[in-house]
Amino acid sequence: MTFGSFSFWLFLGVTWILWALSPNLLYRRLVLAGSSLIYYFLVQPATLPLLVTLVVFTYLAGEGIQRASLPRLRQRFLGLGIGMSVSCLVAYKYASSLGRFGARLAELAPGLRDESGRYVLALGISYYTFQAIGYLIDCYRRQSPSDSSLTDYVTYLSFFPHITAGPILRSMDFLPQLRERARMASPVIWTSLVLIIFGLFKKMVIADNLAAVVDQTYSNIAATQPVQLIVASYAYAIQLYCDFSGYTDLAIGTALLFGLSLPENFRWPYLAESIVDFWNRWHISLSHWLRDYVYFSLPGLRSGKLAAHRNLIITMAICGIWHGAGWTFLIWGLYHGVLLVMYRVGQPLWRKLSALPSWLNRLVAIVFVQQLVVMGWVIFRVEKISDLRVFGARLIDFQAYRSAIFTLSPELKGIIYLLAAIWIGQLVHRKVPVTEAMRARHWNPWAMSFLLLIALAIVTFKRSVPVPFIYFKF
């Protein structure tokens, strides 16, 4: 029951009616909390006890932190809460990689394995455990609202439009919104509609169709022409962006219907002019969470540049592992960590040496960062490390390029045109932000016609077999 299914929209509709008909704020908050738990139960009943346990435990830990006056006691509550959250994350996300210990764990933990014995990734565990940890740290730093109820906390951790793939919420931003009475005005509905339709378009038209090419290529790297490997790698970069940012648009759009504003998660990341800029535009809620709760919490931040660089690499390694227990994710995280350090070290030098005009300098920077990011996505996408070696070997098989360039299949040419169009579209978007313009034109007939055509395009070009969102498995 995700955004691509009618069941989700029916569930959303019923919830929205109940929410809109609620006589007061308390009922509205109860509807949101209740519907989020029901949604979770409908999608993955086996791991609902885990969510409920974590909600109750971390809420009580948060209360303990806020009420305790002794610093040591506050620290203990914080340690307990974080320990519980991390234990759940390790057990449910990494159990399949823990060998015998994982098997023993599966006997104890409810819903860790399905009926056929396979490990189940608890729905949204990476997101709600991080949110719980963030909440506890906010309580410790006295930055979280002190009067939040358990009902609101349930919604904060499990709000159904965002639970499966974020964005990761901050308690100080989200919880106060639940105490405000939202008014349903036409601009809000319009903005929500635009976000939902554009989100579906990104996911079902662009990402899912590119997935067909990418999956086929990456399933047999050794037998694939290097030109196709290169095209598929760029296609994956676009697929990943459209898949994840499409989900985020849908989450933000549906949350708006309940008067809730979720944080922005993407800001045209492939137009980043440096790798630091990229991480301020890509999966913003995660990168900022890691910055605020991991990087700033690591020891030695003020002990010099070397320690700061080390902390940066550690933070990015955690970022990699957050995506899964594979070595490829760890290497991807370290790769970005090293890039960030290199940027910090090399940036002043680059500024001195660069004699290019500023517009050309920016264009070169954008293209250069894109290449670095796409290389990172290759590491991220391959199934195992040995695939990277095969990938590299195929890329330097120069003999294969000569024949391949002249025998590009029409489908591959089509993909190249599509990628070029999307790339140009991104640059154009800097000047003419289409979605923002659409959101601003409330009930304008031209905008409505455009949305109708987009909706028809979704129906026409969607794949017959639904493709799950990539970030569901993280």
Binding site: M1, F6, S449
Partner: protein, 365 residues
């Protein structure tokens, strides 16, 4: 100057509404009011339905409607039946990959068009009672029937849905009807010019296509005995491929395609499919004086496609369901390899024999 600017704004505004209204009307007409029928080509998934409607319109005096999937479309020879029983007595309404929803809807449409058949013959293939992994039987029926769907289908789909959750998904497709046209519209917008030419040819052909349904019968003379043993067919094909211009190649490829897609598939009688069959038979029995059920013949000497256990379970279930619904189950038709052009489709001679066998059973009733 200010008035001129206001005037331009108003024109722009109303032009926008006109464009939106035109787009909205086009979508409604094409996908909700059956307008897309005019854009069908012979490769469209709903083409067979449109042809069936034309056949029904042109032959309202027929007494026997024969329903089934491609085994009926290929294997029942109405010309052979009608030669003995009288002109236009039987109509072959077999549609490739059709299932229970489609059969019910076809009969419903026939009755709505003033058709009053004396009998309906439903031919069942063994797969009809089993679920297939990765294949949705009801979804396929809805996609085939999309040009004929109306508001009554919301209720009908409910009866054919295994759960409330799945009903929501099917009903969602009915409500958001363009979702059922994905493949067709995608082909249309990506090949506009060749498709436009095809539309003209197909629509011209459809105008008279229903008048002579017997003329649409295929005339395949190939016998699957030539491809035996089927288990060795892959090797035979490899050898055949090395012979340039092999005359047997196309026939062997077709037999292999039919065999390989069915061999060693997990089959199990699904209780909900059995329930759907029972509901369908009850529905037919309440609208048509006589309903017959026949088991489709097939060539599976090594039990690769249909294991003995499944065959027994399938025939037992059909027997129980027909006895509960007072529908007559016709005896099984004896076959051999000379009657088939692949593992499930009868060739010309086999079709004639099967049809005469059915006629003798129905006439004797």
């Amino acid at each position: 100057m200010h008035k001129l600017s206001q005037f331009t704004c108003a024109i722009h505004h109303w032009l926008g509404w006109a464009v939106f209204a035109a787009l909205f009307s086009m979508v409604t007409y094409l996908f909700y009011l059956g307008g897309y029928r005019r854009l069908l080509v012979d490769e469209s998934s709903s083409f067979a339905i449109e042809l069936t409607m034309r056949i029904l319109d042109a032959n309202k005096d027929a007494k026997l409607l024969v329903l089934g999937n491609s085994t009926v479309a290929e294997g029942f020879r109405a010309s052979s039946y009608n030669k003995v029983a009288g002109p236009r007595t039987s109509l072959n309404l077999g549609i490739g990959s059709a299932h229970f929803y489609l059969f019910e809807k076809i009969v419903d449409l026939a009755l709505a068009r003033g058709f009053r058949p004396h009998a309906v013959l439903l031919v069942l293939t063994p797969e009809t009672l089993s679920l297939r992994p990765g294949y949705d039987l009801l979804q396929n029926d809805l996609t085939l029937m999309k040009t004929e769907l109306d508001s009554s289908d919301y209720l009908r789909v409910w009866r054919h849905s295994p759960s409330t959750g799945s009903y929501v998904e099917y009903a969602g497709d009915l409500a958001l009807r363009p979702a059922l046209y994905t493949t067709d519209v995608r082909d249309l917008v990506t090949h506009v010019v060749p498709r436009a030419h095809k539309i003209m040819v197909t629509q011209q052909w459809l105008k008279t296509a229903g008048n002579e349904p017997e003329a649409l019968e295929t005339d395949n003379q190939y016998a699957v005995c030539e491809a035996d043993p089927l288990r060795e067919l892959e090797k035979s094909l490899a050898a055949e491929r090395s012979i340039p211009g092999s005359a047997r190649m196309a026939d062997l490829e077709r037999v292999w395609a039919g065999y390989s897609v069915r061999a060693h598939q997990p089959l199990a009688v699904d209780s909900f499919q059995a329930q759907r069959l029972e509901n369908l038979l009850k529905y037919l029995a309440s609208h048509v004086p006589r309903v017959y059920v026949a088991l489709a013949p097939y060539y599976d000497p090594d039990f690769d496609a249909y294991p003995a256990e499944y065959r027994r379970a399938f025939s037992d279930t059909v027997e129980q369901v027909t006895s509960r619904t007072s529908v007559k189950l016709l005896p099984e038709f004896e076959t051999d390899c000379s009657m088939f052009f692949d593992t499930v489709h009868l060739n010309h001679a086999g079709g004639d024999k099967f049809t005469q066998f059915l006629r003798s059973q129905i006439d004797g009733d």
